[in-house]
């Protein structure tokens, strides 16, 4: 399989999971939530500083339909994570290639 097709496939699967399948995910408390509720740790939980923000709790504020709201939030999340992670990769690689160039220039036997 060509790399490009694999990457596109991975992206589409992620969109499907975050945008559609997530609606069917279990809404029970997760491991830490459950343990903290059962043993009284949750009493000290504070509200999130960004609780009023437009995407808080994986929903788009103002969108009434739960399926649409959650799905849209998932798709936005996929896009934001993709941009953030790809930028980080690009920046990290650019620093690497700058370094490589410096070393090539300073060494007497440059490699291609």
């Amino acid at each position: 399989m060509r790399t490009r097709n694999l990457l596109i496939g991975l992206f589409l699967v992620s969109l499907l999971f975050a945008g559609v399948v997530s609606y069917y995910a279990s809404s029970s408390p997760d491991g830490l939530e459950k343990v903290s509720q059962d043993h009284g740790i949750a009493a000290n939980a504070k509200n999130h500083d960004l609780d009023g923000s437009p995407l808080a709790g994986y929903g788009v504020s103002g969108v009434g339909n739960a399926r649409l709201s959650g799905g849209l939030a998932g798709v936005i999340g996929v896009a934001v994570v993709f941009l953030a992670a790809s930028s980080l990769v690009l920046v990290t690689r650019r620093r690497k290639s700058n370094q490589a160039t410096d070393e090539t220039v300073s060494s007497s036997a440059p490699r291609p």
Binding site: M1, T3, L6, L7, L10, F11, V13, S14, L15, F17, A18, V21, S22, A25, S26, S27, S28, P29, D30, G31, L32, K34, V35, S36, D38, H39, G40, I41, A43, N44, A45, K46, N47, H48, D49, L50, D51, S53, L55, A56, G57, Y58, G74, I76, G77, V78, V80, V81, F82, A84, A85, S86, L88, V89, T92, R93, R95, K96, Q99, E103
Partner: protein, 231 residues
Amino acid sequence: MHAPDGFIDAPVSIAAGVVAAGGLALCLRGARRELDDRTAPLAGLVAVYVFAVQMLNFPVAGGTSGHLLGGTLAAVLVGPYTGALCVAVVLLVQGLLFADGGLTALGVNITDMSLATVLVGFPLALLLVRALPRAKGWLPVAAGIAAGISVPAASLVFVGFYALGGTTDVSLTTVAAAMVGVHVLIGIGEGLITAMTVAAILSARPDLVYLNRFRKREAAAVPAAPMVQEV
């Protein structure tokens, strides 16, 4: 396992923030070596995939759910340093955009869900892939077992933070037993998801699976140069 604000006191939260920042700085250095023409294109999408699958809480016993943490999966696919960065990006977006995981708890959350899962999961996967038979089919098994064990390990790291700076007065053995107990179950899900994902990518493009570079070669295989040597 996203801790909200208030579970861990300020001094320990700050200390965890320092640990997380230091760990991620190390990962940035390490990722420079790891990110070659094979891992770099995949890395962004591994982060995306981890984010998407983390939304899919699956039920475990007794009205409790769990979700993928993804550190071992990411490390197996793109390398441990890059993998930890991928999960950290996911945790940052979750905390800042979706109000999932407290902002003061970011250090705790990055340390246990990104750094700890990779630190436990990747060496274990490496060990297993060398100990298990050479056939390619064993690599997803190694990744799955390592990923499964990394989940209760991460929950123990959280318990460690709770021991140092928990704001409630609950017996430590109670918290540890409850946390490890439920996360062993969640770890089974983590292991299955990790094994299935790794198997799918391995069958399509074995060269894109970072851990595959460390698998013992099958008898007639080419004596490939496993690591890109960059000084």
